[in-house]
Symmetry: C2
Subunit: 362 residues, 2 copies
């Protein structure tokens, strides 16, 4: 079956692998455009089900279910980067998959992701692939003090990583990760974390949103502030780097590229930290502060539509609501100038992303 990259007309259905809050906000954006969504999730109470036209509950490893799903939609996308590549491959004969499987495959493994970035000549922290304790001991001599040991795969929100402190036993750190293939990453002394939310259309057009300044706590994004204070030259460079990555991957859709700014001075460089081949938490503010959000632009790209404006009409700050913070919804809803977004999750486990607020600054 061939897949002409024809735009999906209003009324067509987009299939989304994953039913979390990102899938939910993608479904809401698709609905604005008159497009339907079919959500595929491995849990029965996926937040995105509440606002989707069609639902599949099945494991991501169920190839037959993936085939039925893909055959029912005009294009397939995904909302988390740990979708098995085999699922994308099972879908591909039945509907085009965006972002392309290479983006998924290469960002699922931290070593391969960093090799991609370094191979483009873009700055990354020093890193070494780790297959065992002996290799880890060697690598520790190369990457500088107090580095991060992370699983190569399936890490998110600070999970699957430990810091190797001076004088500690590396074998203990490796064991703490369960002995899986790992990556040792040098610690980058940075002044600010920023990110580029970029989007590339099927036709290769690229746009970016203004770069937010991100603050993490316990490995989880706490807030994004826009504008970031990053000098214009750095913003420009950050966008160029994100574009180079998108072009290298033949990318279609929204990408999140996290970067470190090493010092709050125009002479200090940016270093690329991580790539997310999907809509990104640090882009949630675009719903409230831009005419066309990252979610709508992802849907537009996947559907083969023209990209929408990424222009920002308001300064703002986005703050995540984690765990029981969501119980403050009534007072947050009463704040003037605050847009509240709740994800329909019932279990407010500690650290779980339950919603976010965007505070517009007039």
């Amino acid at each position: 079956m061939s897949h002409e990259p024809k735009p999906l007309p209003p009324g067509a259905t987009i299939g989304i692998l994953g039913g979390g809050q990102l899938g939910r906000m993608l479904a809401l954006a698709a609905a604005r455009l008159g497009l339907k969504c079919h959500i595929y999730s491995d849990v029965a109470d996926a937040p995105a089900f509440d606002c989707a036209a069609a639902r599949t509950v099945a494991p991501y490893t169920d190839a037959a279910a993936i085939v039925r799903f893909a055959a029912s939609v005009g294009a397939v996308t995904y909302e988390f980067e740990n979708v098995p590549v085999a699922a994308a491959d099972a879908a591909a004969p039945h509907a085009p998959v965006y972002p392309p499987r290479e983006a998924l495959a290469r960002t699922q493994d931290r070593v391969i992701e960093k090799q991609l970035v370094a191979g483009l000549g873009l700055p990354v922290a020093p890193f070494e692939a780790i297959d065992g304790v002996a290799g880890l001991r060697d690598a520790l001599k190369k990457v500088g003090p107090r580095p991060f040991l992370k699983t190569r795969r399936f890490g998110y929100d600070g999970k699957g990583q430990v810091v190797i402190e001076e004088g500690s036993d590396p074998a203990v750190a490796l064991a703490a990760l369960g002995g899986v293939p790992a990556i040792l990453e040098g610690r980058v002394a940075f002044a600010r974390e920023v990110s580029v939310i970029g989007v590339r259309g099927r036709d290769g057009e690229v746009r970016h949103y203004d770069t937010p300044h991100n603050t993490h706590e316990d490995g989880i994004l706490r807030r994004s502030v826009i504008p970031s204070g990053l000098p214009e030259r750095h913003q420009q460079r950050a966008r160029e780097m994100a574009t180079e990555i998108m072009v290298a991957l033949g990318y279609v859709g929204v990408i999140g590229v996290e970067m470190f700014w090493l010092g709050e001075d125009a002479s200090e460089p940016l270093v690329i930290n991580e790539i997310a081949p999907r809509v990104h938490n640090s882009g949630h503010w675009t719903i409230d502060a831009c005419g066309v959000s990252q979610f709508e632009n992802h849907i537009r790209a996947v559907a083969g539509w023209p990209l929408g404006s990424t222009v920002r009409h308001s300064d703002c700050e986005m703050e995540n609501l984690l765990g029981e913070e969501t119980h403050g919804w009534a007072s947050l809803a009463a704040e003037r100038g605050t847009c509240i977004h709740l994800y329909g999750k019932s279990d407010a486990r500690p650290g779980r992303k339950m919603g976010h607020v965007t505070r517009l600054r007039p």
Copy 2:
């Protein structure tokens, strides 16, 4: 069964009678707040079904279906003013209904609606209830030249009305409406049509959006422009009048009050034309130009939440996409600064509201 007016918590379900574009945009707004929607429609392909957690297809006259629907939700609202009052009454023992049944009952009949407004001492065009040709002939002597003869009930978008031209036979006009109970309305020579989009919470708090300037073609709203050019004193008066109506009705939710500004001069008064007990087409721009849209504020009011900010961050113009105009979606989507909204309707009949665009002016 008693109904304490407790706020609906995130995760609760709001029932919406009606599944058109207004129900669809209400469902999208509810999803932002972590609230589910159950849509009740008498057609199987209602646009709002595509983004709702639960669906009922049944006639509005099916009391048993209404009862099951109401029993499954935490509050009931409606998205069109011709929902039978009997449906609201069937729902009421099982869930609170907002806006209140009186708002529905009194705005379904143009005579009763105008009596309400006139009874508050607010300006309306001269009107006479018409029960037959003899009465019509008498009434024609009172209301001025070229008046409108309209059905008392079930009119919308210019349907169910005729102009009685000088020298024409009134009996023909009455027959053209099918001989149903009618109202004769004096023609108001106005300079501009404006509207107030107001919202009243369960606690009686009232807010308003900026007043749009509306242009109609063939009885259908063509565009709304904000700001309207209405002097501040008039805007203030328009808001006061809408508030008086809401208070008189014990209103909860968003209301649309259409008004005529008789001349483009600060000395010219406003005259109330029509009340819509629901979210209103002339408020669609609030999705893109305000932090909290009319749809979200309606949901907040119905759910007993604090009202959200009605502050506008951008000047803008909203234009409806009628019938085949929707086929221009690709070029509209490519316009810079344009937010496109399509309603998921497949049949682009002439004059049918298929979507709208909001053009933000930075």
